[in-house]
């Protein structure tokens, strides 16, 4: 009886609410995956070490959950006390039992037929806080669900989907707020980042990523171009609870490839912005690509690391940018410390000592097209990098490809693509890729693992000395985190366009990833 009571208490405790304090210290419960990038510092590193360099060859699929959708599966699942919350296209959420892979509930919602999304009706995951699960939708709503039933607690319209606004990123839950980024950078929207009260859905603040005329930064937009300046916020950012600062990447200025209509630096496009988490006020910004004409959004994951940079202990943010440079910034001040290319680039001749690029002559799009590296898909993209404190290496899945970029007409029509050009692949050059391990302070390459084609899958590093990654040809693979030596692989049968996670079920470590149109869960053969 005593044992049964003990088990019951354990069961109840095991399903306690996901408080802010739990997420803040997510590294203390590596059996769960409580926020998009694992922790607020976005290392996408698991402290679990049951699966390790010695035994990873015995990793086997345990169950597969097939989605009810054909669109790309970009979701990072969250795992809380035996339940996995995963999103499916267009904006649906399913709670799965992590033992069996069987669904406990599903939230399915019709979206309008005329939603405008540039790149598929995708969703990258949920946030969880207390007893609610939060999801953004392709028709630009944010919805709070009861974590036990999937029933709607509140449903707020963030913006008008008919003008090209959408939400594809996982929200970020912190304190009593839900931070929500938006997409629409190919539709001439005016970008912003929102925070909502988790209990009521009332908007707490909005930071416009394109300042209105007269505000600081508005001088970086010619004429009325700010009105369609884009700078969307479509990838989940990071948070430093001690500084109470949110770090979030912003997207390309609009129109993408024709900069003639928007002379100037176009703030705050292609920036890392640092915002006060309570007020949404700008603390600092760093612009990676002023006046971008290549569609190289800075919507990648800011990785927060405390390290020794040139013999000084500093709070840093590490950032592998789509523009093919790896950056080290001071996250208290935004000061540029260092950058180094991690993939081929020809758009900048160099960066000056403040990190400002000097554009390469002849790399600007023209009506007849010019060849430039990287491809607009970038040296990397939205999928996650990983930082392992165990190896002290930064892992990025690098894309090696170029494009022929064109400048075209840029006429704004509400709800229509506002691209001002386009691109094509370089004939006979399909591109390649590599998993690259960088020394985090210098960006120096420590090792690389070549990939057949440019990847769309992110990285996970673990205390077991492993890094997991995926490729377009469907393999999930594990490498030795110290050397890059391949140790294990599995053919999932579909492209991997997502980032892996790790958690445990009944004390046994698992690795999970979305691939094709399904979630795969792996564990050691027993």
């Amino acid at each position: 009886m005593k044992t049964l009571l003990g088990l019951m208490i354990a069961g109840i405790l095991a399903q306690a609410q996901v408080t802010y304090e739990r997420i803040r210290h997510a590294e203390r419960e590596p059996g769960n995956w409580l926020t998009y990038s694992g922790t607020y510092s976005s290392h996408r590193y698991s402290r679990l070490d049951q699966i390790n360099v010695q035994n990873v060859s015995k990793l086997r699929p345990l169950w597969v959950y097939q989605f009810n959708a054909l669109d790309k599966a970009e979701s990072t699942p969250l795992v809380v006390d035996g339940v996995m919350y995963v999103t499916e296209s267009p904006s649906n959420v399913t709670a799965l039992d992590t033992r069996t892979g069987r669904a406990m509930w599903s939230f399915r919602r019709e979206v309008p037929k005329d939603v405008r999304v540039c790149c598929g009706q995708v969703n990258r995951g949920v946030a969880i806080l207390d007893d609610q699960v939060f999801v953004g939708t392709v028709d630009a709503h944010v919805i709070a669900l009861d974590a036990k039933t999937g029933s709607v607690r509140w449903d707020v319209t963030v913006a008008d989907y008919k003008t090209g606004h959408a939400i594809t990123a996982a929200p970020l839950a912190l304190k009593d707020k839900i931070v929500v980024g938006m997409a629409g950078g190919e539709f001439g929207v005016r970008g912003f980042l929102d925070a909502y009260d988790a209990k009521t859905g009332k908007r707490a603040w909005r930071f416009w990523t394109v300042p209105v005329k007269g505000e600081p930064g508005s001088e970086t937009w010619s004429g009325e171009s700010w009105k369609n300046g884009s700078a969307a916020t479509w990838v989940t950012g990071s948070y430093d609870p001690d500084l109470n600062v949110i770090y979030w990447g912003t997207g390309n200025p609009g129109p993408d490839w024709n900069g003639d209509v928007r002379s100037g630096d176009n703030l705050y496009s292609d920036c890392l912005i640092a915002l006060d988490a309570d007020t949404g006020k700008l603390k600092w910004y760093f612009q990676f690509t002023p006046h971008d004409v290549w569609d190289i959004d800075a919507t990648e994951i800011p990785v927060l690391v405390d390290g020794i940079f040139r013999e000084q202990p500093r709070k840093l943010v590490l950032f592998a940018n789509r523009n093919a440079f790896y950056y080290v910034l001071d996250r208290q001040t935004g000061q540029f410390l260092h950058a180094k290319p991690y993939a081929k680039q020809t758009w900048a001749t160099q960066l000056d000592d403040r990190g400002r690029p000097i554009p390469a002559p002849g790399a600007q799009p023209t009506e007849t097209g010019v060849t430039v590296y990287p491809h607009s898909a970038g040296g990397t993209n939205w999928y996650s990098p990983s930082y392992s404190p165990k190896t002290n290496l930064f892992y990025v899945a690098a894309r090696e490809s170029g494009a022929v970029v064109y400048k075209g007409e840029a006429e704004y029509r509400p709800g229509a693509e506002y691209d001002g050009g386009g691109l094509r692949n370089i004939p006979g050059e399909p591109g390649t890729g590599a998993i690259r391990a960088l020394e985090p302070m210098s960006g120096e390459l420590r090792w690389e693992y070549p990939l057949f084609s440019p990847p769309w899958a992110g990285m996970l590093s673990t205390a077991g000395g492993l890094v997991f990654g995926g490729c377009d040809e469907g393999y999930l693979f594990a490498l030795d985190a110290a050397t890059g030596k391949p140790l294990w692989r599995f053919q999932t049968g579909g492209k991997i366009i997502s980032s892996p996670i790790s958690y445990s079920t009944d004390g046994r470590q698992r690795v999970a990833i979305a691939a094709g149109h399904a979630i795969y869960v792996f564990g050691l053969e027993e």
């Binding site: 790309k72 540039c118 598929g120 190919e186 898909a377 075209g408 709800g415 386009g422 094509r424 393999y475």
Partner: protein
């Protein structure tokens, strides 16, 4: 009816309800001016994925006479209007009206298509030559022919006479990507030449010169040589008279899609 059945029926109704009452079988707007306007709309709305010249990138290559999802004008109209569910191709109806969709369709149809030229040779004699030379051993025309080389069923719609003449004389001068020749050597010394069917980090699949479908793990191989400038097809420079070459080219030009 199961719930799934009901849902499917509902979806079908919704799909049908959105279609205009009658979509013509053939594009009613195909004048040069309409094509030109379609080109402008294409640049603004489609080029981001399909490239300004329609040769593709993130989206499919449209510069070819046969489009997999749009074999005729009616189907092409519907693809542009409704998008392709489960892909990144969005519905066009919220930015283009019906007239504009037809204009884009007219431009898409104009891509990768060359006007039929009048050429010097005798196409009938060229057809006979095509067979006596053994070309059908590797090339399909209609339902007949081999698989080693690209099918030529509608080659005259896609390629001009000058290009075809150059290819007969110098087959490796430009090769379709899906016909990449590879030479593979296995650890036990087996040497295979074939067309690459698929490849990834760990494996490669080929069809060899005797039409065998083969697959290898890369760790079983000592080398893989990709030969983008090589073709299994011999040059016919020394084997054809000028007249015969004209005839053969005339025959290839006569192979049209419609």
């Amino acid at each position: 009816l199961s719930l799934c059945g009901l849902l499917a029926a509902h979806m079908l109704l919704m799909w049908q309800a959105e279609l205009p009452t009658e979509v013509p079988k053939q594009n009613p707007y195909t004048s040069a001016a309409e094509v030109q306007h379609g080109k402008r709309l294409f640049a603004a709305n489609c080029a981001v994925c399909h490239a300004p010249d329609g040769t593709g990138g993130r989206g499919a290559n449209l510069a070819r006479p046969r489009l997999q999802r749009a074999p005729d004008d009616h189907a092409l109209f519907l693809v542009i209007r409704q998008g392709v569910p489960g892909t990144e191709m969005p519905p066009g109806w919220w930015v283009l009206n019906e007239h504009e969709i037809w204009q884009v369709a007219a431009y898409v149809r104009s891509l990768g298509r060359v006007a039929q030229e009048s050429v010097a040779g005798n196409a009938r004699a060229g057809g006979d030559l095509f067979r006596t030379l053994g070309c059908p051993g590797c090339h399909q025309t209609g339902a007949v022919g081999g698989r080693m080389g690209p099918p030529l069923t509608d080659i005259g719609s896609r390629r001009g006479a000058a290009y075809l003449r150059a290819k007969v004389l110098e087959p490796a001068s430009s090769l379709p990507e899906e016909f990449l020749q590879v030479q593979i050597v296995t650890r036990d010394g087996w040497r295979i030449t074939g067309i690459r069917l698929n490849e990834d980090n760990y494996s490669i699949q080929v069809r060899d010169l005797s039409d065998q479908l083969l697959s290898f793990w890369k760790d079983e191989l000592t080398s893989i040589e990709r030969q983008p400038g090589r073709s299994p097809m011999p040059s016919y420079r020394e084997r054809l008279s000028d007249r015969e070459l004209d005839d053969l080219v005339a025959y290839l030009v006569s192979l049209q899609s419609d």
